[in-house]
């Protein structure tokens, strides 16, 4: 565990160093108001990364979260247009998101299809469904009610509701992962599926629940996204699934499953969020962001691999080398 703890410490130091570097040239970036804005901007990423974390812990991956977000966001905007009250919209998008996640989960659980194939497919299906719903039309700010747009921006104790939701979900996840049987099951199912089965954990069911959780969070984030940016169309959050996976990988969630913490995951998201918000401040074109995310993913996995337990085939390599050595002597 000390290794894992040091991982989070390294990430925290990296974030502080990053902030320090930006602050040395642009001190206004680290003012409380600016940092609050960064947190608010990063809230969707934090919410999706937490859901993705549950999925990755169980040795799966969900590439459909951004499409799920976009579909739920569009449905929220359409329901709003039909005059449905906000609490019902919230319930509806969470339920829809969970259902879309459950569809992924069932295919993985009951049919044993690799999650990457399932979610690569549903990614295009969910996004295509938005087109089928709207014929490609946009829902613009003037077509949304004031209450619908105001909710995520309402400021309570210095932070908008959107950021508070991210904080609350983070706290909830910390409890879920460390204090509940389901949280332990996520780790067990990914860490050692065989052992998990022998201890009475259904690996498939656990994976299913992880997808449902990720889907529900994507649904909720869909509403927040559409309400905050006050626009809904087919391509919102296009490619966002890559940022989400990047946040998890940077946060030290092992892609092979079974290892990672909520703190790491949130810090991974914040790291990307700070870079994204700092680019325009520092005066670098936003077109750099994609390449920076990609490099961050690669550096993070290389780093994860270096601190990871050595897998079987490396041992084999050593034995091979020793045999060769002995043969040579």
């Amino acid at each position: 565990m000390s290794l894992l703890k040091s991982r989070e410490a390294i990430l925290a130091l990296a974030i502080l160093a990053l902030l320090g570097l930006i602050a040395s040239r642009f001190p206004s970036f680290v003012s409380p108001r600016s940092l609050a804005r960064v947190l608010t901007d990063t809230s969707p990423l934090i919410l999706l990364a937490l859901g993705q974390m549950a999925v990755i812990l169980t040795k799966c991956i969900d590439l459909s979260v951004a499409a799920n977000l976009a579909l739920c966001g569009m449905v929220a905007a359409l329901l709003n247009g039909a005059g449905v009250p906000l609490p019902l919209i919230l319930l509806a998008v969470i339920a829809l998101g969970a259902a879309l996640g459950a569809f992924n989960g069932v295919l993985v659980w009951k049919l044993g299809i690799p999650s990457i194939v399932v979610t690569l497919g549903t990614m295009t299906i969910y996004r295509g469904t938005i087109f089928l719903l709207t014929g490609g039309a946009w829902v613009n700010a003037h077509q949304m009610s004031a209450a619908f747009k105001a909710f995520p921006r309402t400021v309570i104790a210095g932070l908008p509701v959107m950021a508070w939701i991210a904080v609350a979900v983070t706290a909830g996840f910390a409890l879920l992962m460390t204090r509940t049987p389901l949280g332990r099951a996520f780790y067990a199912a990914g860490g050692n599926p065989h052992a998990a089965v022998y201890t009475g954990i259904s690996v498939g069911r656990t994976q299913f629940l992880a997808f449902v959780l990720a889907g529900a969070l994507a649904g909720l984030t869909g509403y927040l996204w559409v309400a905050r940016y006050a626009v809904a169309y087919v391509d919102i959050a296009g490619g966002f699934e890559l940022d989400v996976v990047a946040a998890c990988v940077i946060g030290g969630i092992a892609i092979a499953g079974g290892a990672g913490t909520v703190a790491g995951c949130v810090m991974g998201a914040l790291f990307l969020g700070i870079i994204k918000n700092a680019l325009p401040v520092v005066g670098i074109s936003p077109f750099w962001q994609m390449a920076i995310s990609g490099s961050a993913i690669l550096i993070a996995i290389a780093f994860n691999a270096a601190s990871r337990r050595e897998p079987g085939r490396i041992i084999l390599k050593k034995a091979e080398a020793r045999q060769l050595q002995e043969a040579g002597q």
């Binding site: 299809i113 690799p114 497919g121 549903t122 390449a291 690669l298």
Partner: protein, 339 residues
Amino acid sequence: MSPHDSRLPDHPTTAGRHIPDRLTSPAARALKSWEALLLVVAIAIFIMNAMASPWFLDPWSLSDATFNFTEKAMIAFAMAMLIVAGEIDLSVGAIIALASTVMGVAMSAGAPVPVLVLLGLGTGLACGAFNGLLVARFGLPSIVVTIGTMSLFRGISYIVLGDGAFTGYPAGFAWFGQGYVFWVVTVELVIFALAALAFGILLHRTNFGRMVYAIGNNATAARFSGIRVDRIRFILFLLTGLMSGVAAICLTSRLGSTRPSIASGFELEVVTIVVLGGVSILGGSGTIPGVVLAALVMGLVTFGLGLMNVPGIVMSIVVGALLIGVIALPRLLAMARGR
């Protein structure tokens, strides 16, 4: 076990495998194969298309239809070998974007056509080598590596191009994507056929091909039997990068322009062709003829939908559903039979 294997490996059953007294004849086996099914599906879609639209059976129209799959299928052959070996490359679309951008930069600097082609192929090879190095040399899981390089490669295109585009490729360059070898046979179709032949021979008629299957079925056993697993994995990534470079030349030549969003979503369609072609996503089995037939099926489906004025995004729903359906169907049937 491959890193993207999310299933529990099956426990060995006590009943043992059923070993028949007599092997079924090769002809009977061929009839029951996945490839035979694909052939039937392809012919059925062909006939349906011919009935749905009077313009479909025109040779020029059919020639246009081949553009729907040739570029993707070129990559699909290399991707098939990669997936047979238990790896995957999700960065192929991004490699096309980067290769196309490099060619665009060179074109702006006044480079002649042969240099453009060499740069396109070279960029593909370099990207493939980068993926291969990270996966084979450093032992990182190929899914995450290629998700990372997917952002990196396309990200570099965005840095170079921003929201701009390269246009004005020299007239000689148009030959690759718009030229005809004779009558209605396009240059791309010939490249597709040659690639099919080359990869078919490589996978089914050489030691290298046998080693690819061996790695996909059991990488540890393959290593113990003296196969240089990492070297072969590296070569497979190299081949995928090279074919992405070839596809980049064809696509850039056909469109006559480069934007950073070029070939986005290609990875999905390439993987779909491979899986539709009967290659197991878990590695270890699949054939190149299957991939050829799957490419034809995909091309016919998208062209048929195009004839019916179905928009592109709806076609992508069909592709996504096809990907899941093709894998789900045999498993559903097996489950139904098991009960």
